[in-house]
């Protein structure tokens, strides 16, 4: 990877599900080591873009490069092997399997049992719930707990890029804070994070970069605070001003 090669480069991506294109030429780059947040109204193509990145959906046109390697046409498994892990929007734990089994499956593509054991120990340390509820069925956990176990599972591959699709969905305010703290922790550990969020204010505040998608195209990109402070974006796409309301004196 040369200096000019983007960590993740999305170039002219056009994709949809058969009933027309949802993404209509998306271009932006994700910088290594940061948190990049994609925001935008419902139907703007945020989740569709993440499906294209993780290989679940093949784009009609365009290309995605990860450290110079083209991703289009690769299977989700091949993309995982490159170091890109996605936590999908809806709860993705296997409900009838135990918490421990779920987390171990995060390292499904790793063959070396000693590596898996070492990573399990590390994940148990970071996420105590993995040890506390190890033998419980994953389906018996609360929404917030399931989200933390999903994070734990995705770290089993020690990925370079963690892709999160609306991680705050369905979480109460207290759990929301824990979730955002965990995202910050993953980033502090050296993982680059790309997340899609409806909870725009909180997500952009903790992000180094922000991208606004509108109708399948990039409307604006910049630093997290630039996007957060842009009044037009706040009014048009995010249900009003994103800035904190001034406190009454």
């Amino acid at each position: 990877m040369t200096e000019s090669t983007p960590f993740l480069g999305i170039e002219g991506v056009v994709a949809g599900y058969g009933g027309g294109d949802v993404l209509k030429g998306v271009d932006f780059t994700v910088k290594e080591g940061g948190v990049t947040c994609i925001v935008g109204p419902n139907g703007s193509g945020k989740s569709t873009l993440l499906k294209v990145i993780s290989g679940l959906l093949k784009p009609r046109l365009g290309q995605i490069y990860f450290k110079g390697t083209p991703l289009v046409g690769l299977t989700p498994r091949a993309i995982l092997k490159l170091g890109i892990v996605q936590v999908p929007q809806n709860h993705s734990l296997f409900g009838e399997m135990s918490v421990e089994e779920n987390v171990e499956l995060g390292a499904f593509i790793v063959r070396d049992r000693s590596v898996i054991a070492r990573r399990m120990d590390s994940v148990r340390e970071m996420f105590p719930i993995v040890a506390e509820r190890a033998k419980d069925k994953a389906g018996s956990l609360s929404s917030g707990q399931q989200r933390l176990v999903e994070f734990a599972r995705c770290l089993m591959l020690e990925p370079e890029l963690v892709v999160l699709d609306e991680p705050s969905m369905g979480l109460d305010p207290k759990t929301l804070r824990v979730m955002f703290d965990t995202v910050k922790m993953m980033n502090a550990m050296g993982r680059t994070v790309l997340l899609v969020e409806q909870n725009a204010r909180q997500a952009l505040k903790m992000s180094h970069h922000g991208v606004v998608l509108e109708n399948g195209q990039v409307r604006l990109s910049g630093t997290g605070s630039e996007v957060l402070n842009n009044p037009e974006i706040g009014v048009l796409f995010l249900g009003g001003a994103l800035l904190e309301k001034p406190k009454a004196s």
């Binding site: 995982l80 734990l93 296997f94 399997m97």
Partner: protein, 294 residues
């Protein structure tokens, strides 16, 4: 009616039901992983029976020894059918299309079996088919006990595969959520193909026991598939444990009804139980309630 007859029918039901459970487990595994209703499962059981018949009559190979040939053969048949026909079915109409495609496959196999073996009924013969043993004062044909043992061994092997191996974990993950399974690196396509092969392979064992306990021809598949479908619907589509419980339960109740009210009512009881259970629990005994959006 006396106590011995009732006890006999219960034991018969459990022994025979376990073989149905084995056949139904294959069917429900295929549905759970692939969203495919394989209505060819009945004729594949009969194909398994005919393979055992051919090996026994023409090569003198014992029915149980012959399974070493028929099980791998039907596994390969399953793989070929999945790769050539079923892997092409995609999209929201997958379930309905799978019924049509597998029905067409069933008709082709039925036609071929009628040409090769004629429509005359045949039976599988071996010493254990005709001899019986006295257990708790009841005479039971050896084949019922051996069939039960075979079903237990194969279901046990399936259990170990599913719950003690890496491949089993990938099957269970694919059963639960195919997208999430793909996102942890499971090759869902490959898992589906192997599961279809396994689901068909068990028909070799089921077919051999069926052929040893019933006279059969290609048309026997219709009765079989209707029973197998009832069992997996009753157990809960995609539930392996459900197929096991429902298989044993249905055949036992059918045998009991036959003894208590007479054979005329036994077939009917199969469907009456289905209607009653589904009225109270539409997802079946162990099935998950599906969520319908708007």
């Amino acid at each position: 009616m006396n106590g011995t007859a009732v006890l006999h029918s219960i034991i018969d039901g459990v022994l025979t039901g376990s073989v149905y459970a084995l056949m139904a487990t294959g069917l429900t595994l295929i549905f759970g992983v692939m969203n495919i209703i394989n209505v060819a499962q009945g004729i594949l059981v009969i194909l398994g029976a005919y393979l055992s018949y051919a090996l026994s009559v023409h090569l003198g190979i014992d029915l149980f020894v012959g399974l070493a040939i028929t099980i791998p053969t039907l596994f390969v048949v399953g793989i070929v059918v999945e790769r050539i026909f079923l892997s092409r079915i995609k999209g929201p109409e997958r379930v309905v299309m799978s019924i049509l495609v597998t029905y067409a496959i069933a008709l082709v196999i039925e036609g071929l079996l009628n040409i090769v073996f004629s429509a005359n009924y045949v039976e599988l013969h071996a010493w254990y088919v005709v001899r019986s043993v006295r257990v708790f004062g009841i005479w039971l044909p050896y084949i019922y006990l051996l069939g039960f043992a075979l079903a237990v061994v194969l279901l046990g092997a399936l259990y170990v595969m599913l719950y003690r191996t890496r491949f089993g974990a990938s099957v269970r993950a694919s059963l639960a959520d195919q997208t999430a399974a793909a996102l942890v690196g499971i090759n869902v396509r490959r898992v589906s193909t192997i599961c279809f092969g396994l689901g068909v392979a068990v028909t070799a064992a089921g077919g051999m026991i069926y052929g040893a306990t019933n006279a059969f021809n290609a048309n026997s598949s219709y009765d079989l598939i209707s029973r197998l479908l009832v069992i997996i619907v009753l157990g809960g589509m995609g539930s392996l444990g459900g197929a096991l419980v429902a298989g044993i339960m249905m055949i036992t109740i059918e045998d009991l009804v036959s003894v208590v009210w007479g054979p005329t009512w036994s077939n009917l009881s199969f469907f009456v139980i289905l209607v009653i259970v589904l009225s109270l629990r539409p997802q079946g005994l162990f099935g998950q309630r599906s969520v319908r959006v708007a």
